[in-house]
Symmetry: C2
Subunit: 118 residues, 2 copies
């Protein structure tokens, strides 16, 4: 506590700015949750999986073929995406069809692509 307050020397702190920002600041849990969500979107394989699912639902095997990685790798990544409720699935016989859980991914990708192409 005291350590953190001292760290900066004290000469360079703009008190008003710090207070203003601290009041509007995100709490730790929210920051961690947000980071977890974005981290899940922060891998090319998972981006491809999600983008593929934007077009239509796909089984694991087809997904693996489309994005060019092993089925095991896809399955591992889908587990992560499931945990964060980014995808859902339905069973049809031996096959599991995965799809986007809600529209947030589409919106996030749209914003993300906008930024990249700026």
């Amino acid at each position: 506590m005291a350590l953190e307050l001292d760290r900066c020397g004290s000469t360079c702190i703009h008190e008003e700015a710090v207070k203003e920002v601290q009041q509007a600041m995100l709490d730790e849990d929210a920051a961690v949750s947000l980071a977890e969500l974005f981290k899940a979107l922060g891998d090319p394989t998972r981006v491809k999986i999600l983008f593929a699912l934007m077009t239509r639902e796909l089984c694991v095997c087809d997904t693996a073929l489309v994005i060019g990685v092993s089925e095991s790798a896809v399955s591992h990544q889908l587990r992560i995406l499931r945990t964060l409720r980014l995808v859902k699935f339905r069973r049809e016989g031996k096959t599991l069809f995965y799809s986007l859980a809600d529209s947030h991914v589409k919106e996030l990708f749209a914003q993300g692509l906008e930024h990249i192409m700026e």
Copy 2:
């Protein structure tokens, strides 16, 4: 190439689905760029930095104080955010004031928080 096509056995492939998705598919570069962007947002420290900067511009020292990490750590993370053009800065004497580069971060955070609180 041939390896990838064989990998799935061939029995489980739904050809139409695969073709339909492949046509709409993101190219490799775009997938990597998108992933890089989201990866940059996928760390609690960087989330806090960006969220803090949503309120107002801040110098490195104040940022470090607000989010409770060392100035060096903040500087390192700001470098990553600068590289991805998520933040920009202006100099005033010895002090560098960082701010959000554009409005995409706000939109992304808004969507992200919506998803988390669903």
